[in-house]
């Protein structure tokens, strides 16, 4: 049961033509999702493009900012170092005579130098010292040079190093008071004074690097990038605390310091770089999913109303088709479906009426057929009697009577065969021949009969017994003495056939002509319905556009024109009437 249902759903999905509801839902989905997807994809690509562009610029700017900060910090230190150096190298000013002062004047010199160093101290500076080879130093009494000399970064500086030496960032363990978390940025400048007390001394400047570290951390936090600073020998000056192994596809911003040979490198993992885009993507995705579900839901709800009604319509039609004509659809709304339901109701009502009517007609027809069957016995009797009379006449040698009887039998046979409504022109004209034979024998003189019909037209059909009444009409009304000329001609006119029946009899008045056409004409002998019947026959078979027309001049003759469409004998049609 369950499997079947799944199969059914699956089948429906594969062949959505089966369900209007599914189509509607799909349409809803497409209508809602297509613009959304387009918009989503467009906004995603555009915004992520922008974001990445901005992030790229931001990262590059941030690194430049760091580089600038570091540069300015370093150049400030360099400036101070240069200043101290220049002061010490100035022979007119150099005051230090003994490495370790003892006397009042020595101390005075020392205090002058220390005051000078103090004056150069800024808030950011951790310390500014001149450290002699022996370990004595000038500057604030806040460091221990014994500890200083054990520091790896101090020992790493070659003894004969000339120029500026940048040991990078480190914890100032050589201070009397320091915390392990503290970081300073150092600069060591060997004094180029090879004589005197300051021989082989070094200037040491240390800046508080806490602010710098804050900047680094802020940079790391804001950009999610890994920051490394290296000197020209590739030694690490700074590295982000977070462990990270560089990847091929990292986004890398790199800058070199202008002041020394340090390089700043910020590495952003490819994934992080595209993180914000991914967020947009997932938001777009969620939006799409949500609206998809919404569309699905709404489509379902909406379509269930529409398809429900359509389904009811369909079921009602099905029922009606099965013959339950009392089926009616309740009409709720005045929309298209409502109108449809209303029309259906009306139609089914009409059908019901018609069926009832047909039932009645059928019944009548049956009765008529029964009656006709009843009457059919009489023609047979008539034929048989006529044949007997014909044989009697032949035996007695009365050829005229025999011929008349033969032709009459033929005429009657044509007339009485009600099974065929439409007969070929050939057959109809044959019957006319029989009629003319009778008339010739009857009047014992020639009636001029002319027939101009192309043999090709003989296959087209004409209502049975439509010419005979007209000819009869001519004999009984137009020719008072039974003499005259009758001409029948049939021509094609496009899709129609036009038959002209001419006589040179006495003609008729306009009034009589109208009466004849309307079937109200009554002669002394009580006939006159023939012409109108013929006209009606054509109109019934071929439509009101076709039929019969009379042109007549009194004393000169009459022309009857009949127009009807070309139609060949249809086997099937004839069979169905049997």
């Amino acid at each position: 049961m369950y499997n079947q249902r799944i199969q059914m759903i699956f089948h429906r999905l594969l062949a959505p033509r089966r369900s209007l509801r599914l189509k509607l839902v799909i349409l809803f989905l497409i209508a809602s999702l297509l613009p959304l997807i387009t918009l989503g994809v467009l906004s995603f690509t555009k915004s992520s493009e922008l974001l990445q562009d901005q992030l790229g610029k931001y990262g590059s700017n941030a690194v430049t900012q760091l580089q600038y900060q570091l540069d300015s910090e370093l150049s400030q230190m360099e400036l101070v170092a240069e200043y101290v150096h220049a002061y010490l190298l100035n022979p007119s000013r150099i005051a230090i005579h003994r490495e370790i002062p003892r006397s009042y004047s020595d101390l005075h010199e020392q205090s002058d130098l220390e005051d000078f160093l103090k004056a150069l101290k800024t808030v950011k500076q951790r310390g500014l010292f001149i450290i002699t080879k022996s370990g004595y130093f000038y500057g604030e009494n806040s460091i221990k040079t014994t500890t200083l000399k054990e520091q790896a970064w101090w020992k790493a500086m070659p003894a004969d190093y000339a120029g500026e030496y940048w040991p990078g960032f480190y914890t100032p363990r050589h201070y009397k008071e320091y915390s392990e978390k503290e970081k300073v940025l150092g600069l060591v400048v060997p004094i180029r004074n090879q004589q005197g007390a300051l021989k082989d001394s070094r200037i040491l400047i240390e800046m508080n690097a806490d602010k710098m570290y804050e900047l680094f951390h802020l940079f790391e936090k804001n950009t999610q990038a890994m920051l490394t600073i290296k000197n020209s020998e590739g030694q690490l000056i700074y590295q982000s605390a977070q462990a990270y192994t560089p990847q091929e596809n990292d986004v890398v911003w790199s800058k070199s310091l202008t002041l020394n040979d340090w390089t700043l490198e910020a590495r952003l993992p490819y994934k992080s770089f595209f993180q914000s885009s991914n967020i947009i993507r997932s938001y777009t995705g969620v939006g799409l999913l949500f609206s998809g579900l919404l569309a699905l839901l709404l489509g379902f709800l909406f379509s269930s109303r529409v398809t429900g009604r359509i389904k009811r319509l369909k079921e009602s039609m099905f029922l009606a088709g099965k013959g339950r004509l009392q089926t009616r659809i309740p009409v709720q709304d005045r929309d298209e479906l409502g109108v449809l339901a209303h029309s259906f109701n009306r139609m089914i009502g009409q059908i019901q009426d018609l069926v009832e009517e047909i039932t009645v007609t059928e019944k009548l027809k049956k009765e008529a057929e029964l009656r006709a069957f009843h009457y059919q016995i009489n023609p047979h009797l008539l034929f048989n009697t006529l044949n007997s009379i014909q044989w009697k006449a032949r035996l007695q040698g009365n050829e005229d009577i025999r011929k008349m009887l033969y032709h009459l039998a033929m005429l009657l046979e044509g007339n009485l065969d009600i099974t065929q409504e439409l007969v070929t022109l050939r057959k109809e004209l044959e019957i006319i021949d029989h009629f003319l034979h009778i008339q010739r024998i009857r009047y014992e003189h020639e009636v001029n009969y002319e027939q101009i019909v192309d043999d090709a037209l003989m296959k087209y059909v004409i209502p049975r017994m439509s010419l005979q009444p007209l000819l009869e009409n001519i004999f009984f009304h137009a020719f008072e003495d039974g003499c005259g000329t009758i001409r029948v001609s049939i021509e094609e006119e496009g899709e129609d056939l036009v038959l002209r029946l001419e006589d040179n009899g006495k003609g008729m008045t306009e009034e009589n002509k109208q009466k004849l056409l309307q079937g109200t004409y009554r002669s002394k002998r009580g006939r006159g319905l023939g012409v109108n019947n013929v006209d009606q026959k054509f109109k019934l078979h071929f439509g009101p556009l076709y039929g019969l027309d009379i042109q007549s001049v009194v004393g000169q003759g009459t022309v009857i024109t009949i127009r009807w469409p070309k139609k060949e004998e249809d086997e099937h049609d004839n069979q169905s009437t049997h």
Binding site: S291, F302, R305
Partner: protein
């Protein structure tokens, strides 16, 4: 009807969705600025308080600030810890016309023009209980008869001694009223250079201010009583002798230099048991207790026939003249010298209120008694209060004293200093 409603709702929802889907990207970056701005509803008054304290004492002051905020709703105390750069930053803030409302203060001659005279506040405010504060402390907060600050804490200087070292050397513990000769003899006995053990520790670089008590005790001085003359004062035999005795002790090995470059501080050397006696204020007392040093305190020795004189290191609290909320600043000042607060600060400063000293039984505690005794002897006016150029003179004096500790003759060094510093004396 319902169909229409559903359709409209659907359309609206779709539009809303589309809009929100688009807007999502941009929204993330928009409000970065809001983080930084705080306290936009500024019904709150902020009182700025500058201090030189660091470390634990700073934490105490933060507690004090919180207590004040609790007692004064709507007030926020913003502590500005200037630390080592105190003078520099304070001077800069006065110069810029944007000083803190309240600040710790000791150098009144330098700053008094920028400070609010507090006499009118003091006379109006009975709750202050001025009588309860040691009167002598007010000498240090007055300039030209006007009071520019309230004493908030102080210390005098006394002698710490290591009882164990005295016991080991078989030397009796020092007593109040002992002479410098007794002191030197004891130091000699307590010294053992082979073990790097000495009777007394002398600072490589001394602040002349701290030595004033000893100089005064010998009848000497750095400057004349009117503050105009150093000749014959700074280089008087009495002054020179008082300083020379330390140089002599260093020479004969009964004392050691401490706190110089690459040397341990005197406090640490005393803690390590390498010096038997150490002259200082009350500051290291708690540290010595914590380090479990078995120590005692005693008044400074006397020069025979001369009265012992003390010197007060005072911390006071002042209100800036440019403060825009002087009443609130006064409230805080008053609060800062209340028993409650002084008690909180009593670990680093001696209480200034008699009632609190009694309450804490400091007047019965042998470790604290010498400091209060020294306070009673601190009736001389320190030189920096007598001459506004003293800072400049002090440099030469410092150099002279330092050189004595490194072997120079005190008289010669002081003569040289007087000669060099004289030029600053005519400008008062």
């Amino acid at each position: 009807m319902t169909n229409k409603r559903i359709m409209i709702t659907t359309l609206l929802l779709l539009v809303a969705l589309t809009v929100s889907a688009c807007g999502g990207g941009g929204g993330a970056t928009s409000n970065q600025g809001s983080e930084g701005s705080s306290g936009s509803k500024d019904a709150e008054k902020t009182l700025r308080f500058a201090t030189w304290d660091t470390g634990d004492s700073l934490k105490v002051q933060q507690d004090i600030a919180k207590l004040f905020e609790k007692q004064h709703p709507g007030v926020k105390v913003q502590i500005e810890p200037y630390a080592d750069g105190f003078d520099q930053k304070l001077a800069a803030s006065f110069g810029a016309g944007n000083p803190p409302d309240v600040m710790l203060m000791w150098d009144f001659p330098t700053y008094y023009t920028n400070l609010e005279p507090l006499d009118s506040f003091m006379s109006k405010d009975e709750s202050l209980k001025l009588d309860d504060i040691y009167e002598s402390l007010f000498n240090y907060v007055k300039v030209d008869g006007q009071t520019y600050g309230l004493p908030s804490g102080f210390t005098t200087r006394a002698l710490y001694y290591n009882k164990k070292m005295f016991d080991d050397a078989g030397v009796p513990y020092p007593k109040d009223g002992w002479t410098w000769d007794d002191f030197k003899a004891a130091a000699k006995k307590l010294s053992n250079p082979a073990k790097k053990q000495y009777g007394f520790g002398i600072r490589t670089s001394n602040d002349p201010y701290d030595l004033q008590g000893i100089v005064w005790s010998n009848g000497g001085s750095f400057v004349s009583a009117d503050g105009k003359e150093i000749e014959g004062q700074m280089n008087s035999p009495e002054t020179a002798q008082a300083i020379q005795q330390f140089g002599d002790m260093l020479k004969d090995g009964s004392a050691a230099l401490v706190g110089g470059k690459n040397q341990m501080s005197g406090d640490d050397v005393f803690k390590a048991g390498k010096i038997a006696m150490w002259e200082s204020g009350v500051w290291p007392l708690e540290g010595f207790k914590t380090a479990k040093v078995d120590f005692g305190t005693v008044e400074m020795p006397v020069f025979p026939g001369k009265p012992v004189k003390g010197i007060v290191a005072l911390s006071a609290i002042s209100v800036a003249k440019q403060s825009k909320q002087k009443d609130l600043a006064w409230e805080f000042t008053k609060f800062f010298v209340s028993n409650e607060v002084i008690k909180m600060r009593s670990n680093s400063d001696l209480p200034i209120r008699k009632s609190l000293v009694q309450e804490l039984k400091f007047d019965q505690n042998p470790l604290y008694v010498p400091f209060y005794n020294m306070l009673e002897r601190s009736d001389n006016t320190p030189s920096f209060l007598l001459n506004s150029n003293w800072k400049l003179v002090n440099r030469y004096l410092t150099t002279a004293i330092d050189s004595v500790m490194l072997g120079e003759n005190a008289q010669d060094a002081l003569n040289a200093a007087v000669k060099d510093a004289k030029k600053y004396m005519d400008k008062k």
